[in-house]
């Protein structure tokens, strides 16, 4: 019976106008996104080759081809790090920094398409699964037979989700194959594993919105009401909570601006140069030592506060599956917050060790990503999924089909 319901649901979707429009939209967007981000990756690689000629750099990280799918903080990571004056670490300007328009808009990568657009599509697929059938009267007819409610709801979920996710998989696969054919893109076994994990987490993430759509459908009796609630919840989970969490965290953790920190460092350096010319040998050494201690203290205090800010912000935004997915996906692809922190730590350690060779930095492996908080983000996504599906299951058991 379950098989029959799954088949019916899939066929029902296949002949639906909704299915056609969502498939056309996602196909165009995914292919356009992969193409645009591939071209962007080529530009980043060109810039990387220029940066490599820099003799004074202590670290230059090679752009990852996975940034085509989830750019995240790759632009930040791929700057060159240099030893600046008075222990300060200089970073090169990002190539995109001259075009201010980049500051206004988000990178249209696959992560963005999945996080924002496909999550909406998943909800649009599911919002009328139950309420729509109730309106047309077919739900009453189905349940008047020997069909059990649990079988019906599970069948509907499986059939609906498969018909939504299959075309997505085919298009992403097509885009990935096209990109990997290019000689510019070198995806090794580790990267393939990461890409696989990314797609798996995307499926879990989209399943959350599908289950949520189903839950709303089970809670309402009219598909128009279900649609309105779905759209509001989607906007809240995808935009509102992550964006609000970002500004809310700043209220909870007091942190000076980067300008203030940079000004203090700049002044300390100038003061040292100014005073050094007026002192003799031993006094000079004493002054440099004192200033270094002061600067280190200042920087350490700022970095501690900043790390606290990031942790608080991450904890608040994790209430949204979109934020948990962003953290997980970017961390898997090696373009996330965890990678950024890891790189900065490596640069600081390198400066402490005073090594003469350039820093040899490798992005985190899959195992490391899962250990650095990836697993907890993954668990959050699974928890959301279980919660929404279990709720819709329970609600449907008591649903009034008349």
């Amino acid at each position: 019976m379950l098989r029959l319901i799954v088949r019916k649901e899939m066929l029902g979707n296949l002949y639906n106008y909704k299915f056609s429009i969502i498939i056309i939209l996602s196909t165009i967007l995914i292919l356009a996104s992969i193409f645009v981000m591939y071209r962007d990756y080529c530009l980043t690689m060109e810039n990387y080759e220029i940066l490599q000629q820099e003799s004074e750099a202590i670290a230059i990280i090679r752009p990852t081809p996975l940034a085509i799918f989830a750019k995240g903080l790759d632009e930040n990571l791929c700057r060159s790090y240099e030893r600046g004056s008075s222990g300060k670490i200089g970073v090169s300007r990002k190539q995109q920094s001259v075009n201010n328009l980049f500051k206004l808009f988000t990178a249209p990568d696959l992560l963005y398409i999945i996080k924002v657009i496909l999550s909406l599509c998943a909800m649009l697929f599911a919002f009328d699964i139950v309420s729509g059938e109730k309106e047309t009267g077919t739900l009453r007819q189905s349940l008047s037979n020997r069909l059990k409610r649990p079988i019906l709801i599970i069948g509907k979920w499986i059939g609906g989700f498969i018909s939504f996710i299959l075309p997505f998989f085919v298009v992403v696969l097509l885009g990935t194959i096209l990109v990997t054919l290019s000689p510019m893109v070198d995806i090794n076994a580790q990267n393939w594993a990461k890409l696989g994990l990314f797609l798996l987490s995307s499926v879990i993430y989209l399943a959350i919105f599908f289950s949520l759509g189903l839950l709303i459908s089970c809670l309402t009796h009219r598909s128009s009401t279900s649609l309105i609630i779905s759209l509001f919840l989607w906007a809240t989970l995808v935009f509102l909570i992550p964006n609000l969490g970002n500004i809310l965290a700043r209220q909870l953790v007091q942190i000076p601006t980067v300008q203030q920190l940079e000004l203090k460092r700049e002044q300390s350096w100038i003061k040292q140069l100014f005073e050094i010319g007026r002192l003799d040998g031993s006094q000079r050494r004493e002054l440099v030592k004192r200033n270094t201690i002061e600067n280190d203290k200042l920087t350490e205090d700022y970095r501690n506060r900043f790390n606290r800010l990031v942790t608080v912000s991450q904890n608040i935004t994790r209430f949204s599956p979109a934020a948990a997915f962003t953290f997980l996906a970017t961390d898997i692809m090696g373009t996330g917050m965890a990678e950024e922190r890891r790189l900065k730590r490596a640069v600081l350690q390198y400066l402490k060790d005073r090594d003469d060779k350039m820093l040899d930095y490798q992005r985190s492996s899959v195992k490391e990503v899962l250990g650095q908080g990836g697993l907890s983000n993954c668990l959050i996504l699974i928890l959301f999924n279980t919660l929404f599906f279990a709720s819709s299951y329970v609600v449907f058991l008591r649903y009034d089909v008349r």
Partner: protein, 488 residues
């Protein structure tokens, strides 16, 4: 009759679930957002004041010619519209090792987000079934069977629908405005309130545009289910896809030189000129050694008293004492310094011209790329609204340029003042060097003045015009669709 249609449409909307949800969401988010951002503004203002005081105190103790350029960097105050809209981060935030990368992953919540995402979505939800819904329920047939012209029905739907839509929006803005006006930390003058009013008008134009988009799609659809799907399809394209794609497409269509390559060329030019300076310095030293003989040798043994390079304090002191005791020595020192200036300054100028040309080339090409991206993105009303709202409130790309220009203007006042101060100091003390303390306590202070509203309006009117044009086009299309609509 028009009044009856409007009031019917309005009542229909406000008794609907979507109105209640819209009202609650809009008021709560707007007010919470304004309260949080106002607190943020206070913190940033305190940080700005601290930075200005730090700079003043530092200059009163350590101002010296060689590094004055780095010490005098004017500080940018937080934008006065910060309680509503978060400005674009300046380069100092993005070029630091300790920058905050979180906003790259999640753009912060502000008024722009509320209008562009929440309100546009709400507008579509209000209008997607304005025609199809009535057709499906059969009321449209009844209304049209009377002697009411279709134009009136459509116009009534537009007015009644937008009124129901704009009520939660205006209400939440009024609460926000009240909070801003009673908050002692936020001092808005008349021009700020005028900008606020214009911002509300521009937002209303944007929201109406999406209402009309929904209405237009509704007049071309038979069923509400199809209408909402088409509306959302267009909404995704206009709000979520086109704006984000355009900067990337423009970067690929119009290439600009690498920043790092430009920096390297700049370094190469600087290195070549430093070598030239050293050579010319040697020539001047040789000439003076010939002209002044023993006296100059004595000066050379004091390592030129710091006139050429940084020296130990004992040499500087010795030169100072010697100049104070011997007028001939003092005259020689002054002549040496003047000769150096006359020789080196023209070379500096040529070097500066060459490096400036290099950066100008990069900046011109970058500006062309930005312009291309801006023009490409104009096909989305979202982008036009963002330009209007940001440029009107001084939180956009234009404000970054405006601040740089203000800094430049200040530089034109400040550097001649410094030159004069240095000349006076050199007259008083012949051993005055690049790193001697310079008293600039009576310097002109940098005061940031908001750009005139007239100039801002000149900039935003074309984009606002495009928004109005979108409104007209959507209404005309809705009108054409409705005139031929089969109401059965």
């Amino acid at each position: 009759m028009l009044k009856a249609i409007i009031s019917r449409e309005f009542l229909n909307n406000i008794l609907n679930l979507r109105f209640m949800m819209g009202l609650i969401l809009c008021v709560i988010i707007t007010v919470v957002c304004i309260i949080i951002l106002a607190h943020d503004y206070q913190q940033e203002m305190a940080d700005y004041n601290l930075r200005v005081n730090m700079q003043d105190e530092f200059l009163s103790n350590y101002a010296h010619r060689e590094r004055l350029f780095w010490m005098i960097n004017p500080q940018k105050p937080p934008e006065r519209f910060r309680p509503l809209i978060i400005g674009i981060p300046g380069k100092e935030n993005l070029e630091s090792f300790d920058d905050n990368p979180l906003p790259i992953l999640f753009s912060p919540l502000d008024f722009l987000f509320i209008v562009t995402i929440i309100m546009s979505l709400l507008a579509i939800l209000f209008s997607y079934d304005a025609i199809t819904g009535e057709r499906q329920s059969g009321t449209l047939r009844l209304v049209v069977s009377n002697s009411i012209p279709r134009t009136k029905i459509l116009f009534g739907k537009l007015v009644g629908g937008t009124a129901g839509l704009l009520i939660p929006f205006i209400l939440s803005l009024l609460v926000g405005a009240l909070y801003i006006s009673v908050n002692p930390a936020i001092q808005w003058d008349g021009s700020a309130w005028a900008e606020f009013l214009l911002l509300t008008l521009a937002s209303s134009t944007f929201i109406t545009l999406f209402y009309l988009l929904g209405l237009m799609v509704s007049t071309f659809s038979r069923y509400s289910a199809a209408s909402i799907l088409n509306c959302l399809f267009l909404w995704i394209l206009l709000i979520l896809v086109i704006p984000n794609m355009c900067p990337y497409i423009s970067a690929q269509l119009y290439r600009i030189p690498s920043i790092k390559e430009t920096e390297r060329l700049d370094d190469e030019i600087s290195r070549a000129y430093i070598e030239l300076f050293r050579q010319r310095e040697k020539e001047v030293v040789k000439k003076f050694a010939g002209d002044y003989g023993k006296l100059f040798s004595e000066f050379e043994s004091m390592e030129f008293g710091g006139v050429l390079d940084e020296v130990e304090p004992k040499h500087r002191k010795a030169a100072q004492q010697r100049a104070a005791a011997d007028p001939e020595f003092k005259a020689m020192m002054n002549a040496f310094r003047n000769e150096l200036k006359q020789t080196l300054i023209p070379i500096w100028r040529i070097k500066a011209e060459q490096t400036n040309k290099l950066w100008e080339d990069l900046n011109t090409k970058a500006a062309s790329q930005t312009k291309l991206a801006k023009n490409l993105a104009c096909i989305s009303p979202f982008v036009n609204f963002v330009y209007v709202a940001r440029d009107l409130t001084g939180t956009g790309l234009r404000s970054l340029d405006y601040f740089e220009n203000t800094k430049e203007e200040y530089g034109k006042q400040f550097w001649p003042y410094v030159e004069k101060k240095i000349q006076d100091a050199e007259k008083k003390d012949p051993t005055f060097t690049w790193d001697s303390f310079l008293d600039i306590s009576d310097r002109p202070r940098f005061v940031f003045k908001e750009e005139a509203l007239k100039d801002k309006l000149n900039e935003v009117l074309p984009y606002w015009g495009i928004l109005v044009l979108f409104n007209v086009v959507f209404f005309a299309a809705a009108f054409a669709g409705f005139m031929r609509y089969d109401v059965r």
